[in-house]
Amino acid sequence: MANTIRIRAVASGDTTEVQSLIRHPMDSGFVKDSKGQLIPPHHIEVVQFEHGGKVVFTALWGPAVSKDPYLKFSFQGGKKGDDLKVSWVDNKGESDSFVGKIQ
């Protein structure tokens, strides 16, 4: 599977701003397909961001989060060249993780 996670983390002063985009259908379970059958729920439940062995942000998502979810937050610490690890798991147990560099 191609990588589903794209992140852009930029350190400025003592804070790092993180933007992430994850490719995922985020099916809510309320939408019907062209045959009128309900598409079962398929959405990310947990996204976790780690920096220097510490969790800096955790997102808990329900089916109301949009397809291909976007997220922006910032944390204190982090400098250029540091690793930032992102991982997600969805309601079907699928998961992915990615390590990006802070710019």
Partner: protein, 164 residues
């Protein structure tokens, strides 16, 4: 009725679909460097809270207490959302010691849309995009020092993002 051509045809189709899906899953796992165990722990997902249909019940399930309105919570959402499938929402707060942020969309089938855990050192500001079924009130809740504070805003939705 069970063995009518239609039923058996459907069964066969289901089996075929299953086989294809299974094949794809196999491929996915095969080419995946770190399969099976996820870094993000699915157990911390508050299943109960995401099943609630009212603001009060969702907050009770998530934090165990109600929220009070506060001008120290800022909720940025469009007044009119042309596409309910993608509504940008930004929550920010000037409160100290924030440990959590939650966003609720009151007219959605399940009220709670997203909850964020904010460890020490992370700013209580989050931007993301949500789906909204119809014109609705959106509530941002911030947990600070063990108490809950909220801000509410109405978003007019022209085309819903949840129905088919």
């Amino acid at each position: 009725m069970m063995f009518s051509p239609d039923a058996s045809g459907r069964t066969r189709r289901t089996i075929l679909k299953g086989a294809i899906a299974g094949g794809l899953a196999g491929l996915t796992l095969g080419s995946f460097p770190f399969p099976a165990f996820a870094d993000a722990d699915a157990k911390q997902w508050p299943q109960d809270a995401f099943k609630q249909k009212s603001e009060a019940d969702a907050l009770k399930a998530l934090y165990g207490k109600p929220a009070e309105a506060s001008d120290k919570v800022s909720l940025d959402a469009p007044e009119i959302a042309e596409n309910g499938a993608v509504v940008p929402i930004t929550v920010d707060s000037s409160l100290p010691n924030v440990t959590g942020v939650a966003i609720l969309v009151l007219e959605n089938p399940f009220t709670l849309a997203a909850a964020y855990k904010i460890p020490e050192g992370t700013k209580p500001a989050v931007a993301s995009r949500l789906k909204m079924a119809k014109t609705t009130k959106v509530v941002a809740v911030v947990e600070s020092g063990g108490k809950l504070y909220s801000a509410t805003k109405e978003v007019k939705v022209t085309v819903g993002g949840c129905g088919g």
